[in-house]
Amino acid sequence: MTERCAVVVAHGEMAEGLVSALARVAGPQENVWAIASDVEGGLAQAIEGLLAERAAGCEAVLFSDVDGGSCGQACRRLLARGVVRAVFHGVNLPMLFEFVFLQDRPFDEMVDEIVSKSRRSIGVHQ
């Protein structure tokens, strides 16, 4: 089975923070990385460079913060070029937990489960 890997792409320190929080809860993940929106040299190039360096042969997915924001736009361009297989948006910590748990499942099943389960993680108690 093809190995999977993921890059979290978000504004400010959000991506590093999420990957750090994920490590705190689920242990360090060797196949989940973070890139911040203000990286030098362009976001799409930075993501592609990271994947080329660390994830050759890996089936990559991206987790972006805001659909249509500059991070989400860069991710969509890489999806259009076939560099990655899926771009999740609205990333939160439960979504990354689901990736860790479900990454060995068939691809479409993994994608559907990640979206439906992380969506259910959003709510309010009053």
């Binding site: 504004h11 030098e40 040299g41 805001v66 249509g68 924001g69 500059s70 989400g72 736009q73 969509r76």
Partner: protein, 157 residues
């Protein structure tokens, strides 16, 4: 006038434009002026993804913008005109689009450019365009979001 901002930003439509400027200025229309994007439907779709329902985006070539932006100035839809470089603003200005001020919101690091503000890097081409625009009576001011202090770029070019 209903063009409330002429802005240069290499990221074009993104959070600072939509939320940072769009909300306080009640913007309902964004016009992106870029020859390379006027026919790129995928890129246009990507840029439109993050827009709220109250805002719409159109993509024009420079020639289309020269023809059509003056009419926007006299209508009543609050509009931001965006380009990814100063040269596009300069071309519009010399072709007769009445631009009083250009807001520079994001010109990022690249070979041959030096950083003059955290979000503005200028090279010889940008410096020349700033001088040309100022000489033509167009103020060129850097300001990424409304909460930042405006900085005249003329003295730094």
């Amino acid at each position: 006038m209903s063009v409330v901002l002429f802005r240069v930003d290499e990221r074009l439509i993104h959070g600072q434009v939509v939320v940072g400027w769009g909300r306080p200025l009640s913007v309902r229309r964004i016009v992106v002026v870029a020859d390379g994007l006027a026919e790129e439907t995928l890129e246009q779709e990507i840029y439109r993804t993050g827009l709220p329902e109250t805002m719409r985006a159109t993509f024009w070539s420079v020639a289309e913008a020269v023809e059509r932006v003056p009419a926007l100035i006299s209508d009543d839809v609050p509009t931001i005109v965006l380009s990814e470089d100063l040269s596009t603003m300069w071309r519009m200005a010399v072709e007769g689009v009445p631009i009083a001020e250009v807001n520079v919101g994001g010109l990022h690091a690249a070979e041959g450019r030096r950083r003059v503000l955290p979000y503005v890097c200028l090279g010889p081409e940008e410096e020349e365009r700033i001088r040309s625009l100022e000489a033509a009576g167009v103020r060129v001011t850097a300001r990424d979001v409304p909460a930042s202090a405006p900085v005249r770029l003329a003295g730094r070019a």
